[in-house]
């Protein structure tokens, strides 16, 4: 064996080991979700799947209304990701294609967003929701998240590299700025749009603290809170099999979004890092 192939085999071995180690917790969750309560407390712990997944899921469904929570999480994640993308596209277009009074200041205001994550303004934001009568509504779950520095920076970076003759050509052809925006700029931004969608969808799907505070009834909860409720409803010992059935369901949407849009996502990130 040459030194090179030996080295390659070594690399493969390490990578495969890493893949297994990283995946193990999720494998474990999958197995647990298929066991009966008794099997889940077997000693030594059982690592082969059982056949109770549907029963466990049904139980979780009944206890905390997983179906409704799943719907809520999906709705807020999709809507917020889309609105954030649109706002970021419009703002990035303005900042890169126009010159206007107060541009620098207005841009700084947008940049401040990343220094003001929800926890640093959480109490007044909550009070604001209360004054709008938004507590326990989809508005409260979504609207405070609509601003996105990530998106603005992503599109701005990209639009600064768009050759100047593109808008010039559009202008010569008599296309106004908005037509240029919809027909030229948006189509060439597809990769970045997909990348941002992945980032924002996963970000929203993971929200926990804010939904915990602004929702008061079980039908307005999100799926993350549902899992906490399953865990808290334990009587003697946590029913990991039921909790894991809900966990597996809660894991799926962001994973699917990431895997489906993987190519654009990775490319979008690469563009962002390239400068």
């Amino acid at each position: 064996m040459t030194r090179k192939t030996r080295q390659e085999i070594f690399t493969h071995a390490i990578l495969i080991l890493l893949v297994i180690v990283l995946a193990f917790p999720v494998f474990f969750a999958l197995v647990t979700s298929t066991l009966s309560f008794k099997e889940s407390y077997q000693y030594p712990p059982k690592l082969t799947p059982g056949n109770q997944f549907m029963n466990n899921l049904k139980e979780a469904w009944v206890r905390v209304n997983i179906g409704r929570l799943f719907f809520n999480s999906t709705l807020i994640s999709v809507v917020v990701a889309i609105v954030k993308t649109i706002l970021a596209l419009l703002a990035a277009f303005a900042y890169t294609h126009f010159k206007f009074r107060g541009q620098g200041l207005l841009f700084s205001i947008c940049m401040i967003t990343q220094m003001l994550p929800l926890p640093v303004r959480i109490i007044p934001t909550y009070q604001l929701m209360a004054s709008f009568n938004w507590i326990n509504s989809y508005y409260a779950l979504m609207v405070p998240f609509f601003a996105s520095t990530t998106g603005l920076l992503l599109f701005r970076q990209f639009y600064m590299t768009v050759p100047a003759d593109l808008p010039d050509a559009a202008r010569v052809d008599g296309a106004g700025p908005m037509r240029y925006f919809w027909q030229i700029l948006i189509p060439i931004s597809k990769t970045n749009i997909a990348a941002l969608f992945v980032i924002e969808f996963i970000f929203m799907w993971s929200q926990y603290l804010w939904p915990l505070i602004v929702t008061t009834t079980s039908e307005m909860r999100v799926i993350q809170i549902g899992i906490k409720m399953l865990l808290a409803s334990e009587q003697i010992a946590p029913e990991w099999n039921i909790i894991m059935a809900a966990t597996v369901i809660a894991m799926l949407p962001p994973l699917i979004v990431l895997l489906v849009l993987r190519k654009s996502f990775v490319e979008g990130i690469a563009m962002q890092t390239a400068k």
């Binding site: 990578l15 990283l22 917790p25 703002a91 126009f98 967003t113 993350q224 990775v266």
Partner: protein, 297 residues
């Protein structure tokens, strides 16, 4: 910097940014200012009145052992998540940045943890580590001949396990960014170093690492925000800040003081302190990135 590509449309740019600016002013800047203002007041027992107390909320916090403990816990937790997380991610990204077969598969198989929510990571790790019944305590007791791993009674251990779970979840994200950064390091540089006889280790530290600094500093900032805020769900699921207050990071304390104990003045002061810390880091990060930009010109 940029020219006006559509001269004659004086109002359009303002219309385009209005939605963003409106959201930022109404839901971010407004509440933030309100929060700073509230931090100078305490509310009376029944919440009907507020009394101006100047800096007393801040002074109280800095002389409260609980708060200082929470700051230390946050620092340790964030340091672990950042140092361990970024080191492992960079090593894996470096492994992935080679011309080997199946690299596409490995990429996907190593970045997907990014899609796992902190809460989900928390619940899975909590079940794996469940004292006396979980898989990991079982394995450890088998290997060590009877050692019982009970992190529910051992604060330092609890902090370590919570930090490890948080790091695991973030690995995918960090790998994606490091890999993108590594792929932008020009091959010629490394080739030149190799010809000059530099070993891989040396050329990594002398060439790759400095060129990666914008990515690294960006990840540093993102991971800090993650360790400060987004892990709230993970902590809430795994430990509730316990045992004692061994895993009570600042955001958890803020939640408790603000929403359980309804001490809005103190919670607002805590908000401002966190804001101050992340602003300082954000400014440092920005400096590193801009300095880098000057280099490459």
């Amino acid at each position: 910097m940029n020219e006006d590509k559509f001269p004659g449309h004086k109002f359009l740019p303002y219309i385009l940014i209005t939605p963003s600016i409106a959201v930022i002013i109404i839901f971010l800047i407004g509440p933030f200012i309100q929060s700073v203002y509230t931090s100078f007041f305490v509310s009376t027992t029944f919440g009907t009145n507020t009394i101006f107390v100047g800096l007393r909320n801040y002074i109280r916090l800095f002389s409260s052992p609980d708060y200082l403990n929470s700051a230390v816990v946050t620092f340790k937790f964030a340091a672990f998540v950042i140092m361990v997380g970024l080191s492992i991610a960079l090593a894996i990204a470096q492994l992935l940045n080679q011309k080997i077969r199946g690299v596409g598969f490995y990429q996907v198989a190593l970045i997907w943890t990014y899609a796992i929510s902190p809460t989900i990571a928390g619940v899975i790790w909590a079940s794996m580590f469940a004292p006396s019944t979980g898989l990991i305590p079982y394995i450890i007791s088998k290997i060590s001949g009877g050692y019982t791993l009970n992190w529910m009674t051992n604060g330092q251990l609890a902090l370590f396990i919570v930090a490890a779970a948080a790091t695991w979840k973030m690995l995918g994200y960090n790998i994606i960014f490091f890999l993108a950064g590594l792929q932008n390091v020009p091959d010629e540089f490394l080739e030149a170093a190799r010809i000059d006889g530099a070993n891989p280790w040396k050329s990594f530290w002398r060439i790759t690492f400095p060129l990666l600094s914008p990515t690294t500093s960006f990840l540093l900032f993102v991971n800090m925000l993650y360790a400060f805020f987004q892990v709230f769900g993970l902590i809430d699921i795994m430990t509730h800040g316990g045992p004692g207050n061994a895993t009570e990071i600042l955001v958890y304390k803020l939640y408790r003081d603000g929403f359980i104990h309804l001490n809005t003045g103190s919670a607002s002061a805590q908000s401002f302190i966190i804001f101050f810390v992340i602003s300082v880091v954000a400014i440092i990060q920005l400096r590193i990135v801009t300095r880098k930009a000057i280099y490459s010109r």
